[in-house]
Amino acid sequence: MSFLEGVLILTGIVAIVAQGVYVLTGLTGLFSLGQASFMAVGAYSAGIANLRFGLGFIPSLCVGVVAALLASFVVGAPSLKLKKTYFSLATIAFGYGVESVLNVSTWTGGSIGLIGVANITRVWHVAIALGLVLWVVRNFKLSRYGRACVSVRTDETAAQVYGVNAFATKQMAFSLAAALAGLGGGLYAFYLGYLSPDMFGIPVSSEYLVMVFFGGLGSQTGAFAASVLLTALMEMLRTAAEWRVILYCLIILITLMFRPTGLFGSWELSFGRRRNGSAPPDSPGALAGGARK
C-alpha cells in the first residue's frame, strides 16, 4: 500500500468519525470527549470478531458498529437526562474507563494491544463508506429528526413544549455519532492490522471536537473539510513528528481566536442552495454579560 493510499484511508476514516461529531455537537449542541473511545469500542470489537471468531470484513464491521451503539446507551442513559455538562463529564469518564479496561483485559491484548487483524481496508471501501455517511448525515440534518436536534440545541425547554422528546433526540444523535465512530474504528482496525489502547485516548477525542469547531460548528461541509485538511496536514508533517501536534494546536487556537465561527461558519455546500443560519449553539447570554466592556 502506497503512502498516498494510506493518507487517503486515514483521512476518510477521520472524516467519518468527524461527521458523527458534527451531528452530536454541531446539530445537537452536546460536547463529547468520548468519541475516540467509541472508535476504540468499534475497532476492538471488529478486530476481536475477526481474530477470535473468524468473522469476515463486513460482518466484523457490523459487530463494531453494534458494539458502539450499545455503549452509547450505557453512557447516554444515565447522563443525557441531566444537564449537558454532566453528559460531557460522563463521556470523559467513559473514555477513562474504556482505556483502563483495554489496558488490563487479556482479551484485548492489554497494553500491548491487539495484533494480527487482517489488513483488508482499501481506499474504495473507505470512499464508499464515507459517501454513504455523508449522504445519511445530510438527510438526517434535513429530516425532522435533524430539526429536533437543532431545537434541542437552541432551547431544550422550548423544544419539549413543542412536543420534542429531548432525551430521545439527544440519545438518537449520540447513538448515531457513536455508530459512525464505531464504523470508523472498524475500518481503522482492518487498515492498521493492530490496535493499542493509547490510540484512542481522551486527547484524541478532544481533537475530533476541536476539528469540528475548526470547520465551523454549523456546517456539515465544514466538518468534512476540516477533517480532510487537518488530517492531510498531520500526515504531511509526519517527518516533523514532534512539532506537528504543537503546530496543529497553534493553528486551531489561532483560528478559534480570530475566526471563531470556524472556517465555514454555517455555510453549506448544498446543491446550489445556500443555507446561512446564525449557527453557533451559543445561546445569547450563555455567559451572562458576554460582550461587555
Binding site: S278, P284, G289, A291, R292, K293
Partner: protein, 236 residues
C-alpha cells in the same frame, strides 16, 4: 440631570432602543412605562453600561463612560429586575456587595444603618441567606443594596414584580421617601398607574421608541395611555 441623546441598543438583529432621547431632572422621579419587550430594561442597562450602545448618556453634564465600575462610582446605581439579589450570600453580604465601590469601613457601616432604618425587616434577617427570603423581602434588599453605593441617581427596574398590591404601594412609598432624601430616581414599572402617581414626569416606550412624555398627571389623564396601560376601558 440624566440626559440620553440618540441612544441606540441592538442585540444582533434585534434593535431594542431606537434614537431614544430622555431627561431626568435632578431630585425628581421619572417613570418609564411600556409593554413587555418595549426596551425598558435595555435602557436602564445602557445607562449602567452593561449593554453596548451608541449615542450619548450623561449625568450632571458629564458623559458617562461605558465601564460599569466607573458608572457606579459616578453615583449611578441600578436595582435590577427579577429580584436579582445574590441568593448565595447573606443579607448582610448583599449589602456589602452593594457597597463594593466604597472602601471606607465607616461609610459602609453608616450606610448599612441607613438601609436598616429604611427596612427594619432586613436588620432582623441580616445573617439569613438571601435565597431564603420572600419576594417582598428580596425586593427590599435589592433596593437597600442599590442605596449602599450612595447613588445620586437610582435606576429601579420593576420593583413591584411579584408583589401584592399592598406591598407594591409600600415599596413605591419607600422609593418616594428615598427620593425625598435627595436621590434622583428613574423608575421602570409595569404598574403604570401607581408609578405615574408618584412620578414627576413619565415617558412611554413602545418598540424601543419614546412615543409620549409628560408630567405624571398628564399621562394619567391621557385617553390613549389609559386604554393601553391603565386598563381603563373606553366607557368607564
Amino acid at each position: 440631570m440624566l440626559e440620553l441623546k440618540k441612544v441606540n441598543v441592538r442585540y444582533g438583529a434585534i434593535q431594542a432602543l431606537k434614537d431614544v432621547n430622555l431627561r431626568v431632572e435632578r431630585q425628581t422621579i421619572v417613570a418609564l412605562i411600556g409593554a413587555n419587550g418595549a426596551g425598558k430594561s435595555s435602557l436602564l442597562n445602557a445607562v449602567s453600561g452593561i449593554v453596548p450602545y451608541t449615542g450619548e448618556i450623561s449625568w450632571n453634564g458629564k458623559l458617562l463612560p461605558h465601564h460599569p465600575p466607573a458608572i457606579v462610582r459616578a453615583g449611578v446605581a441600578q436595582v435590577p429586575e427579577g429580584r436579582q439579589v445574590f441568593s448565595n450570600l447573606t443579607v448582610y453580604e448583599n449589602l456589602l456587595a452593594g457597597a463594593y465601590v466604597n472602601w471606607s469601613k465607616q461609610r459602609i457601616e453608616k450606610n448599612i444603618e441607613r438601609v436598616f432604618s429604611l427596612f427594619p425587616r432586613l436588620k432582623e434577617r441580616a445573617s439569613q441567606s438571601a435565597g431564603t427570603m420572600s419576594g417582598g423581602e428580596r425586593q427590599m434588599l435589592a433596593i437597600g443594596r442599590g442605596l449602599m453605593s450612595e447613588p445620586s441617581l437610582l435606576l429601579i427596574d420593576e420593583p413591584s414584580l411579584g408583589l401584592s398590591p399592598i406591598l407594591t404601594t409600600e415599596v413605591l412609598a419607600l422609593i418616594q421617601q428615598v427620593n425625598e432624601q435627595g436621590v434622583t430616581v428613574l423608575l421602570v414599572e409595569q404598574n403604570a398607574r401607581k408609578s405615574l402617581e408618584i412620578a414627576h414626569r413619565g415617558y412611554v416606550l413602545q418598540n424601543g421608541k419614546v412615543v409620549m412624555e409628560g408630567t405624571g398627571r398628564e399621562l394619567l389623564n391621557d385617553p390613549a395611555i389609559q386604554e393601553a396601560y391603565l386598563g381603563v376601558s373606553g366607557c368607564a
